[in-house]
């Protein structure tokens, strides 16, 4: 199976791997994801009814309520946080959420992650090294 390696900047350290869940739309955590299940609940979102729990979330940016990090923390406590995440452009919401969710995170990759990675691919994230290894599903 085809493997692709991407290089970027550390947001939060540690390693995590899982199945990718990819969106080109911004993601809201507070009032956008059910903290007890990890399911996307935002009306009109392309990931609605899908769960980010235990996956590697690949998304362009965080948005919405400033209670973003608080919701991320609740998700982590409930054991429904993603294994890692790849953030297109970091803002304070996703930076703080990475810290309190204790979730390996990278940004500023050398290729556009939402183009290279498809939902269902297997993705390994090494936060400290800023490395992403993608195993394509097909």
């Amino acid at each position: 199976m085809k493997k692709i390696v991407l290089h970027g900047r550390k947001v939060y350290g540690g390693t995590g791997e899982g199945e990718a869940i990819v969106t080109n739309q911004g993601v809201a955590f507070c009032a956008g994801i059910d903290p007890l299940t990890g399911e996307v609940t935002e009306r009109g979102h392309e990931l609605r009814t899908k769960s980010i729990a235990g996956k590697v979330l690949v998304f362009p940016f965080g948005k919405g309520s400033s209670a973003f990090s608080k919701a991320a923390y609740a998700l982590w406590l409930a054991g429904k946080a993603p294994k890692a995440w790849i953030i297109g452009e970091v803002n304070p919401q996703t930076a703080l959420a990475s810290v309190v969710m204790h979730t390996p995170a990278v940004t500023e990759l050398d290729r556009e992650p939402t183009e290279v990675i498809a939902s269902g691919d297997w993705v390994k994230v090494d936060g400290d090294k800023g490395l992403v290894e993608v195993t394509k599903k097909d």
Binding site: A31, L36, T41, G44, G62, K63, S65, S66, V90, V100
Partner: protein, 427 residues
């Protein structure tokens, strides 16, 4: 992160465990952002609710909850006092007049709120209890570096006042309150405040003359752009503070607009050139009749026109809005099948009491609530809700799974409260 002497001292624990934990968190946060130093702040606005964790945390001890959730600490940390001037966001429910029972809030939320208020008092958090600190005694000045939560207030502070804050969360704002520090990053720097998306409003088909019109414009643009800064042009009439309050809230709900410019209105946009920093915008967005219609329809996905609850005042109603709603209710009666909830800040409610607005609202069968939010209603989600806030129309279906939510003007909402029927339409 490079640390100054006082920052290193806090990190080393020389000012106690709470400030040490707070510095540790802020350093991790600064690293995640890619910042390299801190700046001093003395205006912090925090999320104080212990309520959020009622589902997952058993203790109602404020120090336990704050250690775990505010400071990311498994070790119990007893906070002495905050260092910066600090005000707080709304609580979750209104404890006055048994309003919390009216919205069917569980006893646990009541108990947590009592604990939260004791905790705030003890550590020196000034309990403004509102999502609109700029209406109630926490007004920063132009250029001031501040640390604020609440997406609508952040956008208002950045865009309308010209103060400087990033979109902070519960943990970062609490840590800033304890230390008086925040990462020097993002909107604190000049170069990150200039706009990059030009929004042209079609004045022939759109008359920007009400809160609702402003909300729809921001809601449309917010849903279209990412972490960009829009520059609104062609706005002929100077909006009032209520319009800009709604404008700030709507753009931060559909999207992430935490900074914007209105040419000729907001303080960093005397001209288009100033707003763009003389750089070419990356996109131009047009907003006219079609976009307005599309936005209205998106915000009105309800089907059942029998309205159970009318929830207005998000962000918290201003004095002008409470006065206006009282005028609409003068001599009227709220329908027996409908509950009318009007949200404002305690400080504004005090003026409303004095002016007799609260009595008019009560006499009509409505309720003026403080410290709270229309998202915090604990009734079955089959209830049909009408609101004049795009933010609530956006979040009630997502966060609370209410399917039937109507959106319109204050007048539409009061009409629904009186008749029990939704008759709002796009005029």
């Amino acid at each position: 992160m490079k640390l100054a002497q006082d920052e290193q001292a806090m990190l080393d624990g020389r000012e106690g465990l709470a400030r040490q934990k707070a510095m540790e968190l802020l350093i991790k946060y600064g690293d995640a952002l890619g910042a390299d130093k801190f700046i001093d702040v003395d205006n912090v606005y925090i999320l104080s609710g212990l309520f959020s964790y009622a589902d997952i945390f058993e203790s109602v001890d404020a120090d336990d909850v704050a250690s775990e959730y505010f400071l990311d600490s498994r070790e119990r940390v007893v906070v002495d006092r905050v260092k910066a001037f600090t005000t707080n966001h709304l609580f979750t429910i209104d404890l006055d007049n048994d309003h919390w029972r009216l919205v069917k809030a569980p006893q646990i939320l009541h108990d947590l709120e009592v604990q939260t208020q004791k905790y705030c008092k003890r550590i020196g958090v000034n309990m403004t209890g509102t999502c609109t600190p700029y209406q109630t005694g926490n007004v920063p000045v132009f250029g001031e570096h501040i640390v604020w939560v609440e997406s609508s207030a952040i956008a208002y502070a950045n865009a309308v006042i010209g103060a400087r804050t990033n979109i902070e969360g519960l943990e970062s704002s609490f840590a800033s309150a304890l230390t008086g520090k925040t990462p020097y990053w993002g909107f604190h720097l000049n170069e990150n405040r200039i706009g990059n998306i030009l929004v042209e409003v079609d004045n022939d088909t759109v008359d920007l003359a009400s809160v609702m019109e402003y909300e729809m414009l921001a809601y449309y643009v917010g849903g279209l752009i990412g972490l960009d800064i829009p520059i609104y042009t062609n706005i002929r009439k100077t909006p009032n503070a209520d319009m800009l309050k709604g404008f700030s809230a709507a753009g931060a709900s559909s999207g992430s607009i935490e900074m914007y410019h209105v040419v000729g209105v907001t303080p960093e946009a005397h001209t288009v050139e100033e707003a763009t920093g003389r750089k070419k915008p990356k996109m131009t967005v047009n907003y006219g009749k079609e976009q307005r219609r599309e936005t209205y329809e998106k915000l009105n996905a309800a089907k059942n026109d029998n309205v159970d609850i009318v929830a207005i005042g998000c962000p918290h109603y201003s004095m002008r809005q409470v006065a206006a709603v009282a005028r609409l209710l003068e001599g009227k009666k709220v329908n027996g099948n409908t509950m009318l909830l009007i949200y404002t800040a305690k400080q504004i409610a005090t003026v409303a009491d004095r002016n007799g607005y609260t009595d008019v609202i009560k006499k009509a069968g409505g309720h003026l609530l403080i410290d709270s939010c229309p998202l915090n209603i604990y009734v079955p989600t089959t209830n049909v809700v009408a609101t004049d806030a795009a933010k609530i129309a956006h979040y009630l279906p997502g966060e609370r799974e209410f399917d039937n939510v109507w959106y319109g003007s204050m007048e539409d909402c009061i009409q629904a409260a009186i008749t029990g029927k939704w008759k709002g339409e796009l005029k």
